[in-house]
Symmetry: C2
Subunit: 228 residues, 2 copies
């Protein structure tokens, strides 16, 4: 088992059968010790964050699998904080795909002239480049096609999948009276037919969730969703 | 004649017949005394810049009119540095629409991970909000529609017009062996049928143009284009 990549929140190991093992870390993104799902830096280390993130990821990826939505997920071992996944190639050096239900975060920082804080956004999808040096710039469908990252047809598949998955997560949260404000995903191409599939994780660190108008920390979200 | 708006590079007066008079100033956008068509601040004042910008604007708007492209242009008086235009309403508080033929400026700052400086971009269109406080954020077709600024159908009209007009300017420059790298436009809705039409100006201050690999200043561009 060979370490092939060490990321901000997980390490990636190559398995002998061609699949990959993701080892979830206890580090979460943020700035100056405050959790922020949109941040590019590791802001703090929370004991148990890796296992909690993996448990929630397992829950959501298995729910998506049951609904026939393509993901890279094979199985997970929460005790070891590891998840086995199919090999995937990302678009360029990676994209983040955000699905927004309420105007907060970078959306509000960009479009505050026309949007009020907390305003409903109806599963609005936007794409940013994973590029720490350039602060993850937003990118349009046309630019993705021109730069050879994603064809116009693939963009429509990506957008539809993003809204489908976002809506499933939103519904699962709603069962616990939790409201999803926004969520970010990563996608890749999987298999011989290069099918577009969800990769990475779906944990508290990927989303902003609120209960009774109060923001819920990732570790609390995992407890609310999976315990009772 | 009543002053209704004082902009960075021109003043706008309401005429009694319902049309407007634009008075071109000698100020051009830039930072610290260096001209930059992408800047939000007035960088310097160039003697004669207003008249030169208007002469070039007159030239291009009349060329567009001959090709049946809708603009707000009625006529121009270069000596007085004034242009008479039809009333137009902008999208929200105004958009800038950029047509790119080579990767320079903000395109390169955002997408430098995937584009080399000076790379061909084939009339690539992008839209930014006119919002100095938020540094003119880029915005997608979907976001424009969601925020009520421009419908999906109007976006396609805007994009097609931008490429048509950009290509006409590019061809005119090419006749003088000048290469257009990028150009920014403003559009608005004109008349009872709210037709999308080019507004504002087309001058050296709106574009980056190069000759023999060397950048051409706005005042020099005007001379090269209109004198001989």
């Amino acid at each position: 088992m060979k370490l092939v990549y060490s990321g901000k929140t997980k390490d990636v190991f190559a398995l002998e059968d061609g699949n990959y093992l993701l080892k979830f870390k206890d580090d979460v993104t943020g700035t100056d010790g405050v959790f922020d799902p949109g941040a590019n830096t590791v802001g703090l280390t929370l004991e148990g964050a890796g296992r909690a993130g993996l448990r929630l990821t397992k829950f959501f990826f298995e729910a998506l699998g049951q609904k026939g939505i393509p993901t890279h997920y094979i199985d997970a071992n929460p005790e070891a904080a590891t998840m086995t996944v199919k090999p995937a190639t990302v678009f360029g050096k990676g994209l983040e795909v955000i699905c927004r239900y309420r105007a907060v975060g970078s959306f509000l920082r960009r479009y505050g002239m026309y949007a009020a804080e907390g305003q409903s956004l109806d599963a609005f999808v936007e794409v940013t480049l994973k590029d720490d040096d350039r602060e993850d710039p937003p990118i349009t469908k046309d630019a993705l096609a021109m730069l050879g990252l994603l064809s116009a047809e693939e963009y429509e598949v990506l957008k539809a999948l993003t809204q489908q998955i976002g809506n499933i997560v939103k519904e699962e949260l709603a069962k616990k009276n939790i409201e999803l404000y926004d969520i970010k995903f990563e996608f890749g191409r999987i298999g011989a037919d290069k099918q577009i599939a969800l990769i990475d994780e779906i944990s508290g660190g990927n989303m902003r969730a609120f209960k009774d108008g109060k923001y819920i920390e990732p570790l609390v979200l995992e407890k609310l969703m999976l315990e009772g």
